[in-house]
């Protein structure tokens, strides 16, 4: 019997289909029974970032730093992770490295506590301009932080930017008019700025009620 070409093609096709495992039941999915979405994969970097954070919470700083470094080797563009690493470095006592890393970051990404710690480092090294810049960035996001504002007022006075310093002292006193110590510091700066009448007035106010 001689088969025509179309019939032969059909038979070969049928054989191919029958021999293919498509006919068999697919293997059970490990997330079978769960709604869609729960079987999706998770990016490693996402899990590593969260692991690094959690390790820092348990004060496992060395491990946390290791995970942050692995994360940043894979995803160097994660500036927030870099800022967190700087904080962990600071907590683990590696202040110089923390500072070097923080300086590579946009100011708004540096965490408030880290920023203030870095300010102290700058002040200790008499890098007052850098300290003032960090403090101004901090106050832009947390204008109610009077301790930071006081530090800024002092730093500005040390760099002889008296008008700016006095303005910061006055803002603090608007919020805390009864703070005698701040008023006396303001009086000092007024004296340095050669505004002795105003200084005397502030000193007088600081003695009222005593």
């Amino acid at each position: 019997m001689k088969l025509s070409q179309p019939v032969l093609v059909c038979l070969v096709g049928l054989l191919v289909v029958l021999s293919h495992p498509l006919g068999a039941a697919p293997p059970a999915s490990p997330t079978a029974g769960l709604p869609p979405g729960f079987g999706d994969p998770i990016s490693d970097w996402q899990a590593r970032w969260e692991l690094a954070k959690v390790l820092s919470y348990t004060k496992a700083y060395d491990e946390s730093i290791k995970e942050y470094r692995r994360l940043l080797a894979d995803r160097p563009q994660l500036l927030e992770a870099k800022a967190e690493l700087a904080a962990v470095l600071l907590w683990s006592g590696q202040a110089t490295e923390a500072r070097a890393l923080a300086e590579t970051l946009p100011p708004h990404l540096v965490d408030g506590s880290l920023r203030l710690a870095l300010v102290d480092l700058h002040i200790a090294r008499q890098e007052f301009d850098a300290a003032a810049t960090l403090l101004q960035a901090h106050l832009a996001s947390d204008s109610g932080d009077l301790a930071a504002r006081l530090k800024l007022a002092e730093v500005l006075s040390w760099t002889k930017r008296y008008d700016a310093s006095i303005a910061e002292f006055r803002r603090i006193l608007e919020a805390r008019p009864e703070d005698v110590q701040v008023r006396r510091r303001l009086a000092n700066v007024l004296i340095w700025a050669d505004r002795k009448t105003e200084a005397a007035e502030e000193l007088r106010k600081s003695l009222q009620g005593r």
Binding site: P30, P36, G37, G39, I42, D44, Y57, T58
Partner: protein
């Protein structure tokens, strides 16, 4: 002939639409009524309406979240927990809804109850990375950092030291 077919088709469509509308309508109206009471602060009044809407089979993320919020507010933690566990069997349930539920449990300081549900789900589906991530995050939020770290390491396929 064609006109007869068209009329028959329209009649069938009308009957089917009417049946579907009746079924859907009752559940949605109840849900909306519950929502009105909820927004007026009458949580006790809203609860049975939300429950009736749920029983009517309304597949709504908003309904589940509202029902959970009301139950947690009224101290019906076990009912809220069971509803969350049941949600993992619903085809419309999604990870972001699970995350929103967890937030509700945390807000009412019942995170441990949500953790029980997630722990059970993870035990049943150990290969679901999304579930394990939710579980690990909740452990972290509950301050159980060492356990959370273990879960994150498992997600990374690393030894859970």
């Amino acid at each position: 002939m064609n006109l007869k077919r068209l009329v028959l088709f329209l009649v069938v469509v009308a009957v089917l639409t009417s049946l579907v509308y009746q079924n859907v309508k009752s559940g949605w109206v109840t849900y909306r009524h519950g929502e009105t009471l909820f927004l007026q602060g009458d949580l006790k009044g809203a609860l049975p309406l939300f429950e009736a809407a749920e029983a009517a089979g309304i597949p709504s993320r908003e309904l589940l979240l509202r029902l959970t919020e009301v139950r947690l507010f009224l101290g019906q933690v076990e009912a809220a927990r069971q509803a969350m566990a049941q949600a993992f069997h619903e085809r419309w349930f999604r990870p972001f809804t699970a995350e929103a539920l967890v937030e509700l449990f945390l807000r009412f300081r019942q995170g441990e109850s949500a953790l029980l549900v997630l722990a059970e789900a993870v035990a049943q589906h150990p290969d679901s990375a999304v579930l394990r991530l939710l579980y690990a995050r909740l452990l972290s939020r509950l301050g159980r950092f060492a356990e959370a770290a273990r879960e994150f390491r498992l997600l990374l396929g690393e030894p859970a030291s």
